[in-house]
Point group: C2
Chain length 443, copies 2
């Protein structure tokens, strides 16, 4: 049978807005750009102080030197650096990654490292190999918005475990695990950011670094330890990784985005051997191989450059910014606000007084030329009025002067919200947490 000469094209229907509407997979439900995303487009204007994004402060990098090293790399290794490579990543970089992780007490073999396109891809691959739709994943409350978005795209059910100033609370974790066990459910893994948490700005206390792996082992729950900020402790302290405590039950995710540069998108997963095999096969079907070129770039950088000194420069730049933010918060924030005091990383987690709503007031804040991320973005589901009082402030990118000015503007916005509240009562936003929210860390 040959094709008919006059085919019937589909008639004009309501579907004309998106003629493919009936075709999408279930997992795309809720995969829509939020209104907050549009707002961030405005927030990227230079007159706005953005305390929203998670972009590292790259002027600390010596571009001249990098340019020379890179040209040299192309001259000597160009044929290999521009060619396909192994799905697992180059052997040289995997060895170097083991040296980096050794700083955190991790003893690992390069065979168990899989290089990925940023640690975001590692997270995507881990979720891909472990999660069927409906599977439970544990995460901290709040948790990294990019992780929540990945879990949602695999239709996992996220159960969030409360944190305090010392990180995830073991008793709460135990309660959640026991409650799930009573329902006959075993979570596929606990996703945790032990150091300089995004967004909460807290760090898992040393005593809990035994408790959390122990609880997970008891309940036979794998740990996915995400540690992009571990080397960015402002007093230079490096906490031992959970992976160092329980090598067989932890998948460790690392990244060069914060210690070198995010535009290279070089991250990794260190996984127990059997898991690693599945990770590599999944990664191969996702991208064939991570970019060889950026892997060679990172290898060259680690081999030729004082990368430890560079991390020290970053630490100092971020400490100065953290100090500026904490000083400005202490000086300007109205009574009733609380915030975390991060010992490293990029973020402060701010709680505003009852009756205010950080999402509802965001457009007004942007009008006042300051931006932040409303706290609801960091929760997977459910509505909880306490969450409307939360926001993430990042101090990684703007100068200390801009941070001070941004916090001052934010304080003005809060004062006006109090006035609005006194005049009109509370203004509540519709809560659209999780995957509908933006992933602001790259903005």
């Amino acid at each position: 049978m040959t094709p008919r000469a006059t085919p019937h094209r589909p008639q004009s229907t309501q579907r004309d807005l998106d003629p493919h509407l009936g075709r999408y997979a279930q997992r795309t439900v809720g995969m829509t750009a939020s209104e907050v995303r549009a707002l961030f487009a405005v927030a990227s204007r230079p007159e706005v102080v953005s305390l929203a994004g998670g972009m590292p402060y790259l002027p600390a990098l010596p571009l001249d030197q990098l340019a020379g090293e890179l040209a040299q790399m192309v001259m000597t290794d160009g044929m290999a650096a521009l060619q396909y490579g192994s799905a697992q990543g180059t052997p040289e970089l995997r060895e170097q990654i083991c040296e980096v992780m050794a700083l955190e007490g991790v003893r690992a073999h390069p065979d168990d490292v899989t290089v990925t396109v940023g640690s975001q891809m590692a997270l995507d691959m881990v979720t891909r190999i472990f999660c069927d739709p409906g599977d439970v994943v544990l995460a901290e409350a709040p948790s990294y918005v990019g992780a929540l978005s990945t879990f949602a795209s695999y239709q996992a059910r996220v159960v969030q475990v409360p944190m305090d100033d010392d990180g995830v609370v073991p008793a709460e974790l135990d309660a959640v695990l026991c409650s799930l066990r009573a329902q006959g459910r075993t979570p596929k893994f606990l996703y945790t950011i032990p150091n300089f948490h995004n967004p909460a700005g807290v760090t898992l206390a040393p005593a809990r670094r035994g408790d959390v792996p122990q609880l997970c082992a008891e309940h036979r729950v794998l740990i996915v330890e995400d540690n992009p900020y571990g080397l960015l402790g402002f007093d230079g302290q490096i906490y031992p990784a959970l992976r160092a405590t329980d090598p067989d039950n932890v998948v460790y995710l690392g990244s060069f985005s914060k210690t070198f540069a995010p535009g290279l998108r070089v991250g990794w997963a260190l996984a127990p051997h059997a898991v690693r095999e599945k990770l590599v096969l999944a990664a191969e079907s996702a991208t064939l191989c991570p970019p060889t070129f950026t892997q060679f770039t990172v290898s060259r950088y680690l081999a030729q450059h004082d990368w430890r000194g560079q991390i020290k420069s970053y630490r100092e730049a971020y400490r100065e910014r953290r100090d500026a933010m904490l000083a400005a918060l202490a000086q300007h924030m109205p009574r009733g606000c609380r915030w975390t005091r991060p010992a490293g990383g990029f973020y402060v987690w701010l709680t505003v007084p009852e009756g205010l709503d950080t999402k509802a007031m965001l457009p007004r804040a942007v009008t006042q030329r300051v931006a932040y991320v409303p706290g609801t973005a960091f929760y997977a589901d459910g509505d909880d009025s306490a969450r409307n009082r939360l926001m993430r402030l990042s101090f990684c990118y703007p100068t200390p002067e801009r941070i001070t000015e941004g916090v001052r503007r934010l304080a003005t916005v809060l004062e006006r919200e109090f006035e609005l509240q006194r005049t009109f009562g509370s203004v509540r936003s519709r809560t659209m947490p999780g995957p509908q929210s933006p992933c602001p860390d790259t903005a």
Copy 2:
């Protein structure tokens, strides 16, 4: 409740080989490395002529010039190139991609282009947004092994449509579509490689470039057009893309892997506007953003370099290799062998006489220092003894002399197989097609 002091660790069980065995997602079933993969590790030794891999011939690239351009890029644009970027890709590169596609008659807006980590990631994202487990995807028979592996990882059911020397056969496509319609099933899309097919080495005839989109439109089936080799036609002819015929019903996948360099992993999807929005959101949850650094590298290359001239150099290098392979096949292949005569791209598709089994004989071929990919790798399911007679020979990477020598060795292997067959009868392999097979294109 606090953690108990003496936790019970899991007892030693059969699971000790992989203590995580009970935890994996359904989609990992069948996600195991094949024995063929181990064989390819041997095949990468220098004494073996590998006609298996799909690595481009990069010595055609001028490294000195690239090194200089790259250093300049880091000096002038380093801050942006090393920073996070948009999940959709940089605006400059998306504009340049539209210029590249214009060569194939594609009129596109940069807003509808999504840059991905190689076109493999584009394929992964397209499958992610369209395919629920059990959904039907159409592909050519045979089809690109990396696509089959991606479809398998989303638990899609692949139905393959026969091809002839003029590409996919419209009458066969119509028959498959009608048969599926009779079963009440609508495929999510037809995945097709119209130009210089991998692995079949054939090109969709001009007359069929109207028929195939027309049939798909009639049956309301989206087309995913994968076109990595379109600019590598040996006589310089550039075929119009299917996307040029039906912009609203085609997702076009492109790549710089074959026209510039695969180690950069820069590919793209051009999609109808509504689809593009979902693609970007899916890509953001997969990698946050494609590497900014490699995008700037490609942009610089396209802006500063005679990229059309470079493609011409590639075409000439591959034409010389294709000629060497066809001449050697004509000279050495035993009677009863048939093969395709590609007008572009990287691959020849060889059929050996009845009774021989290309998978069973692969270890013996590697012993004779020649490697290829057995045909069964390019089929998603089912067993068909005719497939055991197929193999893919690639001419992209070795020198013409090595290709000639490789084909000579292969002919010797085939002669010995005839002897074995005369002595012992047919030797059949277990057929393990599809996802268990290696993705040899990066080897």
